[in-house]
C-alpha cells in the first residue's frame, strides 16, 4: 500500500531530525523526490523549502529524477576497477540499453555509480534496492538485468554469504574474510559483562581506565578516547549524546562492516559504557546508507539488549537509563566527519561545522556529544572488562592495543586482520600474500601512497597512523589511473563549502588528466604541488586538508615514475582546441564555423 507524504512524515513524528528517514521512505516508494513532495514536507515539518531542496541535492541516494524501480548503484572504487568493474558496467549498459547515470524510459531500471561501498575484498560489487551483489561478472549481470526487466524479486539471485550474513535479517551475499583473529573482536563476548564491570568501577573510574589504556580513536584521527569522554562529561549540560560513527566511507575500509556483522553486541555495549561514563541517556548509531541492509539485524540486536536489560530503562536494575536509535545516512563520504555527521543526524545537509566548539562541548542538537568509531567502542568495552594494563601490553609504547586492518587489492588473502600496532608494512604484505606489491595506499586516499622503499615502516601512530585501510597495487597497475580514481573520489565527495576544496580539487584532477593524455610538463607538476599545499592549508575540514594527499604523496614517493610521464623539453602546453570550443555555439546559432577572416589577422 502506498503511503501519502503526510503519512510518511507522521510516521516519523513530523520531526526535522528524522528528515533523512522520511526522504528515504519517499525515495524508496516513489523512486524520486519531487518538488511537490518537498512543498508538502515544508509545511508538515515547518522547514523552509530551500533547506529541503538543499538536503535532497546533497545526498547521493536522494534524487529529483526517477531512479528506476530497480536502482543499481555500482561501486567505482579503485579495487572495483581493478577487479573488472569496467566489463561489468558495460554488461549492465548493454543489457539494459542505457548508460550509467540514466534511467530506462519505462522507469524500470536506473544505472548509477557510487563511491566505495565497503566491499573492496569482494569486488566488483553493486547495491540494487538495498540488496548487495558481490564479485559480479558480465554473465551474472545479464541474469540480473533480465530479472529486473521481468520485475522479479532479485533475492533469488543472491548467493549465500558467510557468517551472520546468512542471518535472514541480513541475507547479504557478503563474505567476512576474517583472515586473522586476535584477542579483541572476533571471539566470545558475554553481553553485559563489560557493563557490569563498568558499574562496579563507577563512571569516573571508567574514564580513568580508558585514559590509562592509552586508547586512541580508531576512525583515523587517533584522538585519545579517555580524554574525549572526560571533556564531554565535564561540559555543563542537562543532556549528552553518544554517537557511533558507522559512516565508513574511506575507500579501502570495510572493517566496521565486518565488526558490526559479527560482533555488534560488543560495539553497542561499548556505547552503553560510554553513556554510563559521561552520564548520557541517548545514543545514536549513524549507519551509512550503503549499509542499510544491516539495519533490521542491528535493530534486532538492540531489541535483544533491551530484553536483557542492557539497554532501555533501569539498565541491569540500576537507575541508569540509556537507549540507542539507528539513523541511516544517504550516501555522502563527508558525513563521516564528525561535525558533518551530526548535522546529517539532525536532518540537514552533511556540511562540517566550524570548530571549535568541538562536539564534546556542542554536538548533536548543540549538546555535548561523544563521537567514536565502532572499533573504538569495542576496544573501550574490552578495556573496561580486562583492565587497561591488559590493553597496553599489546602494541607499541605509543600505540597500545590491537587494530583492525582492511586489506584489499593485489594479494592472495584480502580481508580483515586483527593485529597489534607496530607491525611493518612488509610483514603485513607477507601475511596477506602480496608477493609483488609495488605501491601500498595506507589509510585510504586521504592517507599516504608508499613505495617499496618505505615498506619497512611501521603501522603505528608514531609512524604510519591509520584508520586501517591497506590497499595493495602491483606493478601491472597504472599509477596515474589509481591517482585519478582517488582524486575523482574527492571531487565527488567534497561538500563544496570551501573554495580551495571545491575548486582546488577540480584543478588538481584536471592537471592529472592533462598529464594522463601526454600533455603534462614539469611545470604542471610544480603547480600540482603548489595547489595541493593551498588546498590543504585553506580548507575547513579533514576532507580538504587531506584530499591532495594521493597526488602529493605519489609525487614524493614515486617521483621518478611520475617525472617520466611529463615533458621536460617544453614548459607549457595548451589544451585549448578552437574547433572543439566553437562546435556547440556554431550549431545552436546556425552559422558556419568560419574562422578564416580572423585567422588572417593573427
Amino acid at each position: 500500500m502506498k503511503k501519502s507524504v503526510s503519512e510518511i512524515a507522521q510516521m516519523h513524528q513530523n520531526k526535522q531530525t528524522q528528515l533523512l528517514a522520511i526522504l528515504h521512505d519517499i525515495q524508496e516508494q516513489e523512486r524520486f523526490i519531487s518538488d511537490e513532495v518537498l512543498h508538502i514536507l515544508s509545511d508538515e515539518l515547518d522547514v523552509p523549502l530551500v533547506e529541503l531542496e538543499g538536503v535532497r541535492s546533497f545526498y547521493h541516494f536522494f534524487s529529483s529524477q526517477h531512479r528506476g524501480r530497480y536502482t543499481v548503484y555500482m561501486n567505482t572504487s579503485a579495487t572495483s576497477e581493478m577487479s573488472g568493474a569496467f566489463e561489468v558496467m558495460q554488461a549492465f549498459e548493454k543489457h539494459s540499453g542505457i548508460e550509467f547515470g540514466q534511467t530506462t524510459s519505462d522507469f524500470k531500471i536506473g544505472l548509477y555509480k557510487t563511491s566505495c561501498i565497503g566491499l573492496c575484498d569482494q569486488e566488483p560489487a553493486a547495491i540494487i534496492n538495498n540488496l548487495v551483489f558481490t564479485q559480479l561478472t558480465a554473465s551474472r549481470v545479464k541474469e540480473i538485468v533480465e530479472a529486473m526487466k521481468a520485475g522479479k524479486d532479485l533475492k533469488v539471485l543472491l548467493r549465500q554469504g558467510e557468517g551472520q550474513n546468512k542471518n535472514p535479517l541480513i541475507g547479504a551475499e557478503i563474505f567476512n574474510n576474517i583472515r586473522q583473529k586476535g584477542p579483541l573482536f572476533f571471539n566470545e563476548f558475554e553481553p553485559g559483562s563489560a557493563l557490569k564491570k563498568a558499574m562496579d568501577l563507577g563512571s569516573l573510574d571508567v574514564i580513568e581506565s580508558i585514559k590509562k589504556s592509552n586508547l586512541r580513536g580508531r576512525g583515523g584521527a587517533g584522538f585519545p578516547t579517555g580524554q574525549k569522554w572526560g571533556f564531554c562529561r565535564a561540559a555543563d549540560a542537562n543532556r549528552r549524546y553518544v554517537i557511533c560513527n558507522i559512516d565508513e566511507g574511506e575507500p579501502g575500509t570495510f572493517k566496521d562492516r565486518v565488526l558490526l556483522t559479527e560482533n555488534p553486541y560488543l560495539v553497542f555495549e561499548g556505547m552503553v559504557v560510554a553513556g554510563y561514563a559521561i552520564e548520557s541517556k541517548r545514543g545514536i548509531v549513524y549507519l551509512r546508507g550503503e549499509y542499510a541492509y544491516l539495519k533490521n539485524y542491528l535493530e534486532e540486536v538492540l531489541n535483544q539488549m533491551r530484553q536483557g536489560h542492557l539497554l532501555g530503562k533501569k539498565i541491569l536494575g540500576t537507575r541508569f537509563s540509556f537507549d540507542i536509535q539507528i539513523k541511516l545516512g544517504a550516501g555522502a563520504y563527508i558525513c563521516g566527519e564528525e561535525s558533518a555527521l551530526i548535522e546529517s543526524a539532525e536532518g540537514k545537509r552533511g556540511q562540517p561545522r566550524n570548530r571549535p566548539p568541538f562536539p564534546v562541548v556542542s554536538g548533536y542538537l548543540n549538546k555535548p556529544t561523544v563521537v567514536n568509531n565502532p572499533e573504538t567502542f569495542g576496544c573501550a568495552a574490552k578495556i573496561v572488562l580486562n583492565g587497561p594494563e591488559w590493553f597496553r601490553k599489546m602494541g607499541t609504547a605509543a600505540s597500545s592495543g590491537v587494530k583492525l586492518f582492511s586489506v584489499a587489492g593485489d594479494c592472495d588473502r584480502p580481508g580483515i586482520y586483527e593485529l597489534e600496532w607496530g607491525m611493518s608494512v612488509a610483514d603485513l604484505l607477507k601475511l596477506c600474500g602480496a608477493k609483488d606489491a609495488y605501491a601500498v595506499q595506507v589509510g585510504g586516499p586521504s592517507g599516504v601512497l608508499i613505495s617499496e622503499r618505505q615498506f619497512a615502516r611501521k603501522l603505528a601512530y608514531e609512524d604510519l597512523g591509520t584508520g586501517g585501510a591497506i590497499t595493495i597495487f602491483n606493478k601491472t597497475r597504472d599509477l596515474l589511473s589509481i591517482l585519478h580514481n582517488h582524486m575523482e573520489f574527492f571531487n565527488n565527495e567534497t561538500c563544496g563549502f570551501c573554495v580551495p576544496c571545491r575548486a582546488g580539487n577540480a584543478i588538481l584532477l584536471k592537471k592529472l588528466e592533462k598529464i594522463m593524455i601526454g600533455n603534462g610538463t614539469s611545470n604542471d607538476l610544480s603547480e600540482i604541488k603548489a595547489w595541493g599545499q593551498t588546498v590543504k592549508l585553506a580548507s575547513r575540514c579533514g576532507l580538504g586538508q587531506t584530499s591532495p594527499n594521493p597526488l602529493l604523496t605519489a609525487l614524493q614517493n614515486f617521483s621518478d615514475e611520475i617525472a617520466s610521464k611529463v615533458r621536460h623539453d617544453i614548459d607549457y602546453i595548451s589544451q585549448f582546441n578552437m574547433d572543439f570550443a566553437i562546435e556547440e555555439s556554431v550549431k545552436v546559432a546556425g552559422r558556419s564555423p568560419n574562422l578564416r577572416v580572423e585567422e588572417v589577422e593573427d
Binding site: 607549457y572 595548451s574 585549448f576 570550443a581 556547440e584 555555439s585 568560419n594 577572416v597 580572423e598 593573427d602
Partner: protein, 188 residues
C-alpha cells in the same frame, strides 16, 4: 623610481577581453603617478591610446578578462606572440571570473534565455545573432593561462592601483613579480 633619460622606454600593451574594463579603471587609479609612469614607459596597443593592433615588440602585456569568444583568443595570442612578459590582470583573466558563471550551462539554454525569452525591445526579432562578422562564442569562458602561457598573475576584482603600480615599478626595475607581498592582495 627615478627618471633615466638614457634608458630605453619600456613598451607596454594592455587589453580587455571578457572583462568589464574595471581593471583598466583601477589602473587609472594610479592617479598622478601616471605622469611619472610615462617617463618610463611607452604604450603600444591599449585602450589608453586606441592603437588597435600591436605594431612592434612589447616588453610587457597586461590582459584583463578571460576568453569568451574567438576574437578574445586571437587577441590573446597576438599578445603572447609580441610580449616578453604576459600578465593576467584581475580575477576574470585568472579564473574566468563573473562571465564564467555561464560555464556549465548548455549553449542552447544560454542563447534562448538571452535572445529569445526576452522582452528587450532592441532584441524584438528574437533571433539568435549569426552574422559571420560576429566573433563566435566559445563553449565556456577560459582563463587566459589555459590558452597561452602566462608569466604573472595580479589578483583582485579589480586588482588595486597600488598593486598594478608596484608590478609596473618592479618590471621597470627588472625585478621579479613572484614575491609581491601580501599587503597588495589583501582585500578585506
Amino acid at each position: 623610481m627615478t627618471p633615466n633619460p638614457e634608458k630605453k622606454k619600456l613598451v607596454v600593451a594592455t587589453t580587455s577581453l571578457a572583462g568589464c574594463f574595471g581593471c583598466h579603471m583601477s589602473f587609472l587609479d594610479i592617479d598622478e603617478r601616471i605622469l611619472q609612469l610615462i617617463t618610463h614607459v611607452e604604450f603600444n596597443r591599449s585602450p589608453i591610446d586606441d592603437i588597435k593592433h600591436i605594431n612592434k615588440p612589447c616588453d610587457v602585456g597586461f590582459v584583463e578578462g578571460g576568453c569568451c569568444n574567438t576574437e578574445n583568443v586571437h587577441t590573446l595570442r597576438e599578445f603572447r606572440k609580441n610580449c616578453k612578459i604576459l600578465v593576467s590582470l584581475g580575477q576574470c583573466a585568472i579564473t574566468g571570473g563573473l562571465p564564467a558563471m555561464r560555464n556549465g550551462i548548455p549553449m542552447s539554454d544560454l542563447f534562448s534565455e538571452v535572445y529569445q525569452n526576452t522582452n528587450n525591445p532592441t532584441l524584438g526579432n528574437h533571433l539568435i545573432p549569426n552574422d559571420e562578422e560576429i566573433p563566435i562564442i566559445l563553449d565556456r569562458v577560459y582563463p587566459c593561462h589555459e590558452i597561452v602561457k602566462v608569466d604573472a598573475f595580479l589578483p583582485g576584482c579589480p586588482p588595486n592601483a597600488d598593486l598594478i603600480w608596484e608590478a609596473l615599478v618592479r618590471i621597470i626595475e627588472g625585478k621579479s613579480l613572484d614575491d609581491l607581498t601580501y599587503q597588495y592582495f589583501k582585500y578585506d
